[in-house]
């Protein structure tokens, strides 16, 4: 494929490098929002970059962070994106979404707002998120969004300690008429590295058991769709052939950090080698078409992936799951994704899906 054949379908805008929570697992490790003013890129510059991205195929913009609602002109940005006819998704901890903000989100026809909830119990959620009282605010956000009939998703970060909360959260999502419940096992990047060092993460045997339990049992109990994020190679055959898998389309996305830095995604906040320029100074179109890092990524992904990812029959679909996580762990964008690597080393990766 030539550079023009790769469409830039999604932009991930990391609108703030600050966060009002202190989540123990956060993969981008943002600064506390009290730590002085951040270097936020000028809105006009951001709008220009988005307009350029539209010429490259842009259809969806995800607003995330840090906490995206810490950005003071987020409403103006949402209105701009809406006016441009782009689909808008938001990932937020929900603590800054009040009734008025929910109305604006509705007005901008945001496609989905994802809110983080790690437990149905306030004490456990607040402990994992590092700030007392945040559970109540996140729940309130879900109520406000529901009142405006906005499609929502709850995202749970899974540690060993909150495994028993999966079902309780599924039930809560059902009660709140949340259409989608996504469970993300904590990854060993950013602050998550410490979670792995202290062995508070969930090991691969347990992850596979949870996945099969959700598929066979829990998923059919509730109206809320439950997505358990695990690479396709480790999923059951029926899940593989279904449509309910989350896959990162790394060859069709770019991340723009709060200060305008262009990177693969939010990983650029901690892995600065993956940054390719800044929208204030550089031409986004030129970077998308000709930057050596993207050329290398396109050349190597998935045909030159290493380890189990290089030998998996799903590599052309999965693209090695999270390349950012693989890079953070090894400094090499071709290295295997940690879950599949762990499964392979423990002889738990399905032999029927390995070739070579």
């Amino acid at each position: 494929m030539g550079p023009d054949e790769f469409l830039l379908t999604s932009l991930y805008l990391y609108l703030s490098d600050r966060c009002n929570l202190r989540c123990r697992h956060c993969w981008v490790a943002p600064h506390a929002h009290e730590e002085g003013d951040e270097q936020a890129i000028d809105l006009a510059v951001l709008m220009r970059a988005i307009a350029a991205a539209k010429e490259l195929g842009l259809g969806t913009v995800k607003l995330t962070g840090g906490e995206p609602f810490l950005r003071k002109d987020i409403v103006e940005l949402m209105r701009f994106l809406h006016g441009e006819g782009l689909s808008i998704d938001i990932e937020s901890n929900g603590t800054m979404i009040d009734r008025d903000m929910a109305r604006i989100v509705k007005e901008c026809e945001v496609r989905q707002v994802s809110v983080s909830l790690d437990s149905s119990q306030a004490a456990q959620h607040d402990k994992l998120r590092g700030i007392e009282g945040c559970h109540g605010k996140s729940l309130a956000a879900l109520h406000y969004l529901r009142a405006e009939k906005i499609s929502t998703q709850v995202i749970m970060s899974l540690y060993e300690e909150n495994i028993p909360e999966i079902e309780a959260l599924a039930a809560l999502c059902d009660d709140l008429e949340v259409p989608s419940f996504k469970i993300n096992p904590v990854m060993p990047t950013g602050r998550g590295e410490k979670v792995f060092q202290s062995r508070e993460n969930v090991d691969i045997e347990e992850l596979i058991k949870i996945d099969r339990w959700i598929e066979a049992d829990l998923g059919s109990k509730y109206k809320t769709e439950i997505y358990f994020c695990m690479p396709i190679g480790l999923k059951s055959l029926s899940a593989v052939t279904g449509n309910s898998l989350y896959e990162c389309h790394i060859l069709n996305i770019l991340g723009i950090l709060a200060d305008g830095t262009i990177s693969l995604c939010g990983i650029g906040q901690t892995e600065t080698d993956l940054n390719m320029g800044n929208i204030a100074m550089d031409d986004l179109m030129e970077i998308w078409r000709h930057h050596p890092l993207l050329k290398k990524l396109r050349k190597e992904t998935p045909s030159q992936l290493n380890g189990i990812c290089g030998r998996c029959i799903f590599k052309y679909r999965c693209l090695g799951s999270c390349r950012a996580c693989a890079y953070a762990a090894s400094g090499d964008l071709r290295s295997p994704f940690f879950m599949c690597d762990e499964a392979y080393k423990k002889n738990m990766f399905p032999a029927s899906r390995i070739y070579n």
């Binding site: 059951s236 055959l237 593989v240 998935p302 029959i313 052309y316 679909r317 029927s352 070739y355």
Partner: protein
């Protein structure tokens, strides 16, 4: 007579890459492809292109009948006996479509022992 002409025309591969199968063809698995069975079905994987096709249990059974000896017509006849409650036209149409899909993706190839001419 016209039907005969159509059958002869279908013996050649189509210019758009689609491969047309007729009932006298003998198909066999392409040795360059990866075929992997699991409990509920199987995968066919092309390591050169990354193409991947999932087969359910019925698909696996039919794929495994492609041994390079049986003709497509013989396989269809066998399936008609095996599924007596199904409409014969449907069995024939579904099987031909299935083989054409597999052949277009290079997962099966025509056997050199093809006795179709």
């Amino acid at each position: 007579m016209k039907k005969e002409v159509i059958i002869i025309e279908r013996l050649s591969d189509m210019p758009d890459g689609n491969i047309i199968i007729n009932r006298l063809d003998r198909l066999k698995p392409n040795p360059e492809m990866v075929f992997r069975k699991e409990e509920e079905g199987a995968f066919l994987f092309d390591p050169h292109t990354g193409n991947l096709k999932y087969l359910n249990a019925n698909g696996v059974n039919i794929y495994e009948l492609c041994d390079g000896r049986k003709t497509v017509g013989e396989i269809i006849a066998f399936l008609m006996e095996f599924y007596p409650d199904m409409a014969v036209e449907k069995i024939a149409a579904d099987t031909e479509l299935f083989f054409e899909t597999l052949a277009s993706m290079q997962f099966v190839i025509k056997s050199e022992k093809n006795g179709s001419r």
